[in-house]
Symmetry: C2
Subunit: 473 residues, 2 copies
């Protein structure tokens, strides 16, 4: 008990002295009282003071020199010329500045899922089973491809749900689609590739990432049948192409069977690589899902999937199904800094898939998004028949096409929304030279709002569209 | 029910056809029977066959041309010249090749913690509370610095346990020390820095990472008082220094108070930066922990911590406490690909710290490691008095110093161990020009073995050392 008390006293004393130095009350060079007399003043044991001094000397706050006593160190933080920064008040904690400059807040992202649907209870019980079953080695540094439990579960799921020919040995778990794309672009660049073709509509950050990895991007035109993969043969120096075959992002068309075949034929003919971004292949409404392109040629197509749409972006879990010759190269490019995603979430997702919870959850969310899509189409047809809704066979977004001038008018008004759906001009996704038609088309993300807020968000959209159309002759 | 049955039949049919094409039984160009007659043969509805054909056409397995019927597509996977890869048998799944080339398996890493001590039950209950309390937005794309709950919990813990002056606004959560180092090196390089000083003993992968980020490394000699930070002034062009002040890795000396002061004085005098790798600052045995260097000058010292030693490497969680002016720059360098660690683990760790479980766990593991260290020292003193044990005031490893020639003899024998402690020559950590003395010093990691295996591992070490010493005159 005495020892505990002494420790408490010493801690209080060191804190007080640190604080004194920090605030400048104890200026650098100030001589502190000898431990014996200071202890007497404080009514504590001499050792307690001596130990506190020793600790602060070890930490560099104080100096102790024979003959000169204990002094505040010359370089200590309160020294003149050093700006003493007081921590922000606690109330500011948590009011983080949100996304960094240039990033879009979640409710403004046109591909955002409804994270209020995250299956918390089922996830927790999968975590319980995963923690109970995990071998000790799962807590150490693991296989750079990710946990074998998850790769095995994914191989089964992807074969069944997406027609992917997935061998667990050729799956690499990553922190989401974007990390996967980065690793692939770097691996290709390291192998001497110089350019990657991208769809002429797509996400600018993806293109920037490819450029950042050292590859030129070359646009591949997108029309009503998807990307014109037949044009690939004419693109000089292009060794890879990034496609969204199931549901072109953001125009929403599925890649035509002939175009699928052409992509694979190009890759196999010239030794190229197709990167299949299967971001929302699970959310198809009109019929059976379009199978993954990868199934056509697993040696030429990389299948990239993510839990960001189906579960939550915050999990930071995605996966790549790779041709065998790419596995080692991607792992090597990844290096030690990004060697794996957190193992506990990986084990939990493996359990979640194995228990059928993933299928159940995807089914439930598919119904939810489909209902929203139907309501969106119906409401616009009733309230704004001049707006044409396209790209709606799948996914979490639609493209609304307006008469000339109306697109910009809707956008101007939508900017004032506090919450609601994500709305952006199609021109923002254009590789280059957006047309007037692009400017009058809006990408509307209906996935993002939580379920209880969807009706209000839809109402706000319709009202905005009505007002904007009223301006247009 | 009929619909469900039809769906099941269709699925079975598409699977069988895909399998036929895959294995080459259905060669490219093969004409399939018309849906009507095929349906009659199979005794199913014609629509079921037509839909199966349609699906496979959409996926590119088959082609359907007016007048030519339905055929296996020319580019389909079974085509001649395409190597059909059969998945490895299920028994191979999970027998992953382990760490990639050049990586060290966990039980051979000298800094490895005992992951069998992972607090599964306490972690699960923290996860339960975290999942229950998390706002919906926690499941979306979050603050690139990490969850505010965790940054707040860390700020409190680091101030209390390590004397870090930690404002949650200046903490960036990352995937471990190595990722933090990479981000800092990239941020410095982007800012025009050209070189970073490193301790003359340390981990080669860290040096390679710095070089990979575009900075030259310059060695700073390490002696019995730690790194000679007084020499920093003489190193031209060096804008930053990476130090392990609490417990030099791997020699094990704490940085002398004068050296601590000199590092901070150098940084403040020339506008440089000190990177404090506090990898095992919590596992100090001889007295109160040495406070973090960062406390001396939070504007010049970056404090880097990790859950890899204290909890488990598999969590992939670390943190940086940054000077204010570096926060935005590090976030920018991180970019979208590595924007954050998994939010659920972050929320769970925040709960785990707030509930006092982290302190409790660290205390328990500190006792465990201390006991091992004591047993190691005692056993070697008894069985191999010619081996000198150093660097043992803290951490999960020790340095054993041997008479000339004995170090190599121990290493040769230890290579045959299947499991046991991690053992490596000190020369492997040397920046350049290892001395004979380095070759006769071994870094022994006693943290790695699970508790039940420690006694055996210690016995193996002692027997190996005895045998090796018996060879030496």
């Amino acid at each position: 008990v005495d020892l505990a008390r002494a420790k408490g006293v010493r801690a209080a004393l060191t804190d007080a002295l640190r604080e004194g130095v920090r605030t400048g009350r104890l200026a650098p060079g100030t001589r502190l009282p000898p431990s014996r007399s200071f202890a007497a003043d404080l009514g504590v044991a001499r050792n307690t003071v001596a130990e506190a001094y020793g600790e602060l000397v070890a930490e560099g706050w104080l100096t102790a020199r024979q003959g000169s006593g204990t002094r505040v160190a010359p370089g200590a933080p309160g020294a003149p010329g050093t700006v003493t920064r007081t921590p922000r008040p606690a109330s500011a904690v948590g009011s983080a500045p949100g996304p960094a400059a240039g990033e879009t807040p979640h409710h403004r992202m046109t591909g955002a899922p409804d994270v209020s649907g995250f299956p918390r209870a089922a996830w927790l019980s999968a975590a319980r089973r995963a923690l109970a079953a995990a071998p000790n080695e799962a807590f150490g540094y693991g296989d750079p491809r990710g946990r074998p439990e998850l790769r095995t579960a994914l191989a089964g799921y992807l074969a069944r749900a997406r027609g992917v020919r997935a061998d667990p040995e050729r799956i690499v778990v990553c922190a989401g689609f974007v990390q996967g794309l980065m690793l692939l672009a770097r691996a290709l660049a390291a192998d001497g590739a110089t350019a990657m073709a991208v769809e002429s509509y797509g996400l600018r950050p993806h293109r920037e990432l490819i450029t950042g990895a050292g590859l030129r991007t070359v646009p591949l035109p997108v029309d009503e049948h998807g990307a014109r993969t037949g044009d690939l043969d004419g693109l000089g120096g292009v060794g890879a192409v990034l496609l969204t075959p199931a549901h072109q992002f953001p125009t929403g068309v599925p890649l035509h069977p002939d175009r699928r075949a052409a992509a694979v034929a190009w890759a196999s003919g010239m030794g190229g690589l197709v990167l299949e971004d299967d971001y929302d292949g699970e959310f198809r409404y009109d019929r059976q899902p379009v199978g993954a392109l990868q199934g056509l040629d697993p040696d030429r197509v990389v299948h990239l999937g993510t839990a960001s749409k189906s579960l939550a972006p915050a999990l930071r879990l995605g996966w790549m199904v790779l041709p065998e010759h790419l596995v080692e190269r991607v792992v090597r490019v990844r290096g030690v800094a990004e060697r794996q995603s957190g193992a506990l979430d990986q084990l939990t997702l493996a359990e979640f898939i194995a228990a059928g919870s993933y299928d159940r959850h995807v089914r439930g969310m598919r119904m939810r998004y489909r209902r929203r899509r139907d309501q969106l189409v119906t409401a616009l047809a009733e309230q704004a028949p001049r707006a044409r809704v396209t790209g709606i066979a799948a996914g979490l977004h639609a493209v609304l096409r307006f008469p000339p001038g109306a697109g910009a008018a809707v956008l101007r008004r939508a900017e004032r929304w506090e919450r609601g759906m994500a709305v952006e001009g199609l021109d923002a996704y254009r590789y280059a030279d957006p047309s007037d038609e692009d400017r009058d088309a809006l990408v509307v993300g209906y996935g993002g709002p939580p379920e209880h807020a969807f009706a209000g968000a839809l109402e706000a959209l319709c009202a905005t569209v009505r007002e904007a159309l009223a301006e247009i002759p």
